[in-house]
C-alpha cells in the first residue's frame, strides 16, 4: 500500500519533471507504456505436491524448493547447527536453533522457533535449556500429531527436552545416559540409539514420570554401528535401522520395542554380504544423510559407493532401491554424469544426502556438496531436473 503510493508519487514526479511524451514518441509508439509495479510480498502455497527443504550452504537458512519446477519457494531463517520439523498438517515449521547474541560470542540462546507456513512469519521463540550441537536429522523431531517436539541435548547429560507445541512451552527433560537422538513413535514416545548396541524407548505421559525401557543389545556399536541417519514412521513406530556394513534391522518401536533379524543389502543385490575389513572392497552405504525411506511402499533408498570399511562418510555414485518387505533389490540408479577417466575434474559424482517425497509418485532429491543437485523419479531413476545449488547436506520432506 505504502509502496504503491510511493510508486504513484514517483511516477507523477517523473512525469511532471520530464518531457516523457517526447521520449515515448521516439520509442515504439505501437506498444503501450508499461504500467508501474507494486512492491509486494509472496506467500507460500500450501498445496505443492513435491516440496522439499534443504539446509543452506552455510547453514543460516533452510531453503524450500518445488521439486516439480526446481524453483526456490522461499527460505526459513536458521541459527547455528539448526534442524527443521514440519507440522503434519503443513501449517507450521519448527526450527531448533542456537544463537549467540554477538555472532560467535555473547549470550547463548537455544530455541525452538515456530513459523507460519504460509507467511513464513516468526510466531514464537521458545527458549530451551540447551540443545546438542550435532548436525543430524534425528536430533530434533515431533510426535505423530505434531503436538510435541523432542530436542536432543548432550550437555550436561545425554537427554531429551520435550516441548509442548500447543502451550508453546518446555514441558520437561528426560535423561538417556549412553544413548542419543530421537526416533518418535505415537503421541508420547520416542526411542534412542545407545552405545551398548541397544535401543532405549521412552514414554512420557502428559503428567507423571517418564518410563524408560531398553532392548537387549542387538548390534555392535564399535564394530558395525547403526547409522544415526535411520528412519521411523512416527505414526506406526515401524523403523528401519541401517548399519555401516549394510545390514538392515527392521524394528517396531514402542514401549516394548521389537527388533527383527537383520538382512544384507549387498546380498539383496546378489553380492556377498559386506564385512568390516579395512581392505575388503565392496559396495557400501555412505554419505551424510545417506538414505531415504518411502513409508507407504516400504522402499529404502541408499547412496552406495565402492570402498573398504570406514568409508561410511563417502557419498554415493549409485542409489540402490530396496523393498524392505521382501528384502529385494528393486533398482540401481547410477548418478549421472558418470566420469570417464576418474582423474582430476572427472571424478565420480559423489552425492552426500538424499530425501524422497512421501506421495504415490515419489521424487528423489539428491544433494552434492558441489551443487549440481538432482531431482529423480524414484520409481524409474529418470533424471527430472538439475538444480544449480539446492543447498547443504540435509533434506526434509513433508509428511514424514
Amino acid at each position: 500500500m505504502i509502496n504503491a503510493a510511493i510508486n504513484k508519487w514517483l511516477l507523477a514526479a517523473s512525469m511532471g519533471l520530464s518531457a516523457w511524451a517526447a521520449t515515448a514518441s521516439q520509442a515504439s509508439p505501437a506498444l503501450p507504456v508499461l504500467e508501474p509495479e507494486v512492491s509486494d510480498v509472496a506467500t507460500l502455497r500450501l498445496d505443492v505436491p513435491h516440496r522439499f527443504f534443504t539446509s543452506g550452504w552455510d547453514g543460516d537458512s533452510f531453503m524450500i524448493f518445488d521439486g516439480d519446477s526446481g524453483k526456490m519457494e522461499g527460505s526459513i531463517p536458521a541459527g547455528y547447527i539448526s534442524n527443521l520439523a514440519i507440522a503434519p498438517d503443513n501449517s507450521r515449521f519448527y526450527v531448533s536453533e542456537t544463537y549467540w547474541t554477538h555472532g560467535a560470542r555473547g549470550d547463548r540462546h537455544d530455541l525452538v522457533s515456530i513459523y507460519d507456513a504460509k507467511s513464513l512469519h516468526l510466531m514464537k521463540e521458545i527458549r530451551l535449556p540447551g540443545r546438542a550441537l550435532v548436525s543430524k536429522v534425528q536430533n530434533f523431531d515431533i510426535n505423530a500429531s505434531g503436538s510435541r517436539a523432542y530436542v536432543y541435548l548432550l550437555q550436561p547429560a545425554s537427554s531429551v527436552v520435550w516441548v509442548d507445541l500447543k502451550q508453546q512451552v518446555v514441558a520437561g527433560t528426560v535423561e538417556i545416559p549412553g544413548c542419543a537422538l530421537v526416533f518418535p513413535w505415537g503421541e508420547q514416545g520416542f526411542s534412542s540409539l545407545c552405545g551398548d548396541g541397544s535401543l532405549a524407548s521412552v514414554s512420557i505421559p502428559e503428567s507423571g514420570p517418564a518410563k524408560v525401557t531398553h532392548t537387549r543389545p542387538f548390534f555392535d556399536a564399535n564394530k558395525d554401528p547403526i547409522f544415526d541417519d535411520s528412519f521411523v514412521d512416527r505414526v506406526t513406530g515401524n523403523a528401519i535401522f541401517l548399519s555401516y556394513s549394510g545390514l538392515v534391522y527392521p524394528a517396531k518401536l514402542g514401549f516394548d520395542t521389537v527388533v527383527d533379524k537383520p538382512w544384507s543389502i549387498q546380498q539383496a543385490a546378489g553380492y556377498a554380504a559386506a564385512g568390516t575389513g579395512v581392505q575388503e572392497l565392496a559396495w557400501r552405504p555412505g554419505g551424510s544423510q545417506l538414505a531415504a525411506y518411502h513409508k507407504a511402499s516400504g522402499r529404502l533408498f541408499v547412496l552406495m559407493h565402492t570402498g573398504n570399511y570406514w568409508t561410511h562418510k563417502q557419498g554415493g555414485t549409485e542409489v540402490w532401491v530396496l523393498d524392505t518387505k521382501t528384502h529385494a533389490l528393486l533398482s540401481r540408479f547410477p548418478l549421472r554424469p558418470a566420469p570417464t577417466s576418474g582423474l582430476g575434474d572427472d571424478k565420480a559424482p559423489y552425492y552426500q544426502s538424499m530425501g524422497v517425497s512421501q506421495d504415490e509418485n515419489p521424487l528423489l532429491y539428491l544433494l552434492n556438496p558441489e551443487g549440481n543437485d538432482l531431482v529423480m523419479d524414484a520409481a524409474t531413476g529418470e533424471l527430472k531436473l538439475k538444480i544449480e545449488s539446492a543447498g547443504g547436506h540435509m533434506v526434509w520432506v513433508p509428511g514424514y
Binding site: 514517483l10 516523457w20 521520449t23 520509442a27 509486494d40 527460505s75 538444480i387
Partner: protein, 180 residues
C-alpha cells in the same frame, strides 16, 4: 503535528534521494554547510531513450522473458541476489521478508518498446541472505554511482525502516517512464 500519508511519502522519497538526511535537517544543513554547493537534483539524472542512442553493454544483451537471469532488462543497475530466484518475483519479496520502504534508483531500457523506465530497487529485508545459486547473483552497474550519491548506489544495504536491516534479496519495481 500529524502528517498526511502523502507528506510522509514525499518526505520518505526526499530522504531517499538526499541520502538520508531528514528532510528538515537536510534543508537546514544545506543552508548552513552546502551554501556553495548546487542543490542536488530531486530526481536522478535521466537520459534520453531514443532508438539511435548508443546502448550500454547491459542494454545490448537485455531480455524481457526470464526474470531469474541477470540479463533481465530491469536489472540494469541491480546488485545482489535477485528475489525472483528466492521465492519472490522481480518486484515481489519472498515469503517472510519485508520490502524496504526506501530504494535505490536505476534507469533501464526495455528492449521490446525501446523506452527507458525508472526502476526502484527495493531490497527485501529482515531474514538471512537468500542462498540462490551464483547465476542469480547479479551486479548491474549501468549509471550506478558511488556511496555519496546514495540514491543511485547499489552497494548500500537498502534496508532502512525495516524491523531488521539484514539483507535477503533485491527486487526491481518499474516506477514509470524516464524523462529525457
Amino acid at each position: 503535528m500529524s502528517k498526511s500519508p502523502i507528506d510522509k511519502i514525499g518526505e520518505q522519497l526526499t530522504r531517499t534521494l538526499a541520502g538520508y538526511s531528514s528532510r528538515r535537517g537536510f534543508i537546514a544543513k544545506l543552508g548552513a554547510v552546502l551554501a556553495a554547493a548546487p542543490l542536488l537534483p530531486l530526481l536522478p539524472v535521466a537520459r534520453a531513450a531514443t532508438a539511435t542512442a548508443p546502448k550500454t553493454d547491459f542494454e545490448r544483451n537485455a531480455q524481457t522473458k526470464d526474470d531469474t537471469k541477470c540479463t533481465y532488462w530491469k536489472y540494469c543497475a541491480a546488485d545482489g541476489v535477485m528475489c525472483s530466484c528466492c521465492g519472490g518475483g522481480s518486484h515481489t519479496c519472498p515469503p517472510g521478508a519485508e520490502p524496504s520502504p526506501v530504494s535505490w534508483i536505476g534507469t533501464c531500457l526495455n528492449p521490446d518498446d525501446n523506452r527507458s523506465y525508472i526502476i526502484a530497487y527495493r531490497d527485501c529485508c529482515g531474514t538471512p541472505v537468500c542462498k540462490a545459486g551464483k547465476s542469480c547473483q547479479c551486479d548491474g552497474a549501468d549509471r550506478e554511482l558511488p556511496t555519496y550519491r546514495a540514491p543511485l548506489n547499489n552497494d548500500i544495504i537498502w534496508c532502512f525502516g525495516n524491523a531488521s536491516a539484514t539483507y535477503h534479496c533485491s527486487t526491481a519495481a518499474l516506477v514509470g517512464l524516464s524523462g529525457t
